[in-house]
C-alpha cells in the first residue's frame, strides 16, 4: 500500500505556497498551482521514494505543474499586481536578524531577479536544498544550477549593499 502522504502535504503547504509565489507571483494562481500539485502527488504517491526528501519531491511536482501551466497558457510570465507579494514579508515578530525595512529590500531584490535565478536561489538558500536536489527539481545540469545561483547571489549582494 502506498505511504499515506496527506499529513506531510498539509505540513508542507506553507512552503509549497511560498515557492509557488516565487514562481508565479500571483496569490490566486499560486493557490491553484499548489492545489494542482497536491492532486498530482496524491494520485501518484508511489513516485516518491521513501528515504528521499519529501519536500524536494513536492517542489518538483509543483514546478512541473507550473511549467505545464505556462505551456497551456503560452504565457511568458504572470504579471498580476506586483504589490500583492509584499504580503510575503509578514510580521517579523520578535528577534529577527534584520529589520523589516531591510527584509523588504531583500525581498524586492529577490523579486527583481529573473525567474531562473529566483527559483534556484529560493530552493538552495531559502529551502536548504543541495545543488543536486535543485538540479533534479529544475531539470537542469548541476553546472547550470551553480552558474544561475552564483549570478543571483552576486546580484543580491549588489542590490542590498547599501542596506
Amino acid at each position: 500500500m502506498p505511504t499515506a502522504i496527506g499529513q506531510e502535504l498539509v505540513a508542507l503547504l506553507p512552503r509549497l505556497r511560498r515557492f509557488a509565489l516565487v514562481l508565479c507571483r500571483s496569490p490566486s494562481l499560486a493557490d491553484d498551482l499548489v492545489q494542482g500539485a497536491c492532486e498530482r502527488a496524491l494520485a501518484n504517491p508511489d513516485s516518491w521514494t521513501p528515504g528521499t526528501r519529501f519536500d524536494a519531491w513536492m517542489f518538483r511536482i509543483l514546478r512541473n505543474h507550473w511549467i505545464d501551466h505556462l505551456r497551456r497558457t503560452k504565457a511568458e510570465g504572470m504579471a498580476e499586481d506586483i504589490t500583492t507579494h509584499t504580503q510575503l514579508i509578514g510580521d517579523p515578530g520578535e528577534g529577527p536578524i534584520l529589520s523589516r525595512l531591510v527584509l523588504s529590500e531583500v525581498q524586492r531584490a529577490i523579486d527583481s531577479l529573473p525567474l531562473d535565478q529566483r527559483e534556484v536561489l529560493v530552493l538552495v538558500c531559502g529551502e536548504d536544498l543541495t545543488y543536486r536536489e535543485a538540479a533534479d527539481i529544475l531539470h537542469v545540469p548541476i553546472g547550470t544550477v551553480m552558474s544561475r545561483l552564483a549570478r543571483a547571489r552576486r546580484r543580491l549582494v549588489e542590490l542590498t549593499a547599501a542596506a
Binding site: 502506498p2 499515506a4 536548504d128 552564483a150
Partner: protein, 251 residues
Amino acid sequence: MSELHLSDEVLMAFADGELDEPVAAAVARAMADDPRVARRIVDFQQSRRLTRTAYSGELMPEVPPALLAAVSAQIEAYEAKEHRTVITNLAEERKRRLRAEPRLLRMALAASIAVVACGIGYWAGRQGNDRTDDLVARLDDSAIHRELSRVASGEEVELPFGRLRVISSYRLENGSLCREFRLAHAKEIADAVACLRDGWNVTFALAGAATDAGYVPSGAGDPMAAYLQAVGAGEPLVGDAEANALREVAR
C-alpha cells in the same frame, strides 16, 4: 591544485559546503592567503543568510483557509479511495487464491478451521507436489522472518527461493502481531499467516499451483478469510498503525 581557478561557482560551493576535499582545502588556503577571496566567500555566505532570513518560517505567509480546505478535501477523497482499493486488492488476492485451490481442499479446510482456531499450526494444500512442498518448507525460512519484521504490506521482495509479497498485518485480541503473506515461485504459490511469538511462526498456510483451472465461485467462504476471522484478526493494520507495530518488532 595550484591551477585551481577560483571562479564564483567554486567559491560559492565552498561557502555552501558543497565542495569535495581536496578542492575545499585548496580554497581554504587561498582564502587565508588573499583577503579578496575571503571577501567573495563572505558575500556568498551573506547572500545565503539574507535569502534564508527573507524566507524564514517566521515570515511564512499564511495558507489561505480556502486552500487548506481544498487540499484537505483532496486528501480525504484520495485516502478514502485508497482504502477501497486496498480492500478490492485483498478481494482480488483471495479470488486468485481460490482459483488455485482444488474444491476438495477448500472443503477440507472449512472442516479444519476449528482446529486452526485453537492455535495449532495447520498446513493445507499438500498436493504431493515436490515444488509446492519446497515452497511450503520455505515459509519458515529466516529470510522470510526477516522481511516480515521489516516490509510494509503491499510490498514485494525478491528472495533467492521466490517472490515474497506481504499482504496485510493484524493485531490479535491477545495483542500478538500476525501477517498474511504470499510466497510465489514459478507457477507455485503459498499463502500463509505468521504470528509473532518468540520470533515468527507460520500458523496457517495454503499452497497450490497458480492456475485458473478448477476455479469455483466462492460460496463456502475463503479459507484464509475464515482463518483470520477464527483467530480474531479483526481489521488489518494500515499506515501508521502498521509502521508502529513493525517498529516495535524491530526493537
